[in-house]
Symmetry: C2
Subunit: 183 residues, 2 copies
């Protein structure tokens, strides 16, 4: 194994090519090779980013879908099912399966809406908050370390690029959602 990959030096991580010269594109616009690198970087980074929580969740018989629900319920306690559907963009059947499990395991509580009694307001129980803290601690460690090591300039570049990657029609809405805290 590792056939292709063995001989890489483990220390001093090789810097990726810098924008300018590297891939020939005359101006500031990224060349083909640069784009491929960015795309692959996204793939590998995202894989490791989701890897830590996945491992914890697997031990509990839960999956990434549960993590997403727990994250957004923690973030906006009392969020309705429809609100969560909007954010996650899955079908209600899909979400419902996840919520049912979370409620059965005592991680999430569903209360009848006070203004509109058809709605259900979702909350984490203490056990749910504990799980959330465990999962987010892992991701905050990883992301926090990356941002710190890369520095504040890089951090703002990272944010700018990711923001621009969001569908332009929903960008403002999504960024606004992200910007507001728990609310």
């Amino acid at each position: 194994m590792l056939a292709v990959l063995i001989e890489a030096e483990r220390m001093n991580a090789p810097k990726l090519q810098t924008p300018a010269q590297a891939t020939g594109s005359d101006e500031g616009s990224p060349g083909e090779a640069e784009l491929r690198q960015a795309i692959e970087l996204l793939f590998f980074a995202y894989r490791d980013f989701t890897g830590d929580p996945d491992a914890v969740l697997a031990g509990r018989g839960l999956g990434r879908a549960h993590h997403r629900a727990v994250h957004f319920i923690n973030r906006s306690p009392g969020i309705t099912v429809a609100g969560l559907l909007d954010i996650l963009r899955v079908t209600k059947q899909s979400l419902n399966r996840v919520l049912r499990q979370l409620i059965a395991e005592g991680l999430v509580e569903s209360r009848e809406g006070k203004i509109d009694r058809r709605q259900r307001n979702l909350f984490l129980t203490e056990a749910g908050r504990e799980l959330e803290r465990e999962l987010s601690a892992l991701q905050r460690d990883r992301v926090g370390r990356a941002l710190r090591d890369a520095g504040p300039e890089a951090t703002s570049g990272f944010r700018d690029v990711l923001s621009q990657m969001i569908d332009s029609e929903s960008r403002a809405t999504v960024l606004d959602l992200i910007k507001r805290g728990a609310a």
Copy 2:
């Protein structure tokens, strides 16, 4: 629907909070709210990033797993099954199912290794290359536009942060893999 999200102004995307003051962390290290924002940004951006190709693939009866295989075969023509397993980190049964379909559809060709006849060297057929071009064009458009709009400074910050997010044990190896082109 969109209950929570409606009233966001669509124009002039709201800037996320800036590192310094915003979340109280005394020094340059990111605060809790900043980290949550970065994590959510990653989630939303990655979702849209994978959305374009997913839509095309769905029309062909293929999925994201096929995309990954096609991408890395295109990138390293002649790669062996073991090499691909190493990169994708899935089981050979899982990969084999995907490869079998790709070969059956005439998108991938598997040739007996010349040096080691146990190995199989994988190549895209012309149809495979065409699909690859279609898929990567979508992603290159999105990522290219994002990098261009965010500028070269942001681009390098984006790369730095993502690089730091990769597991430190495999970072050098992975970055080296990314850095080399098709080779």
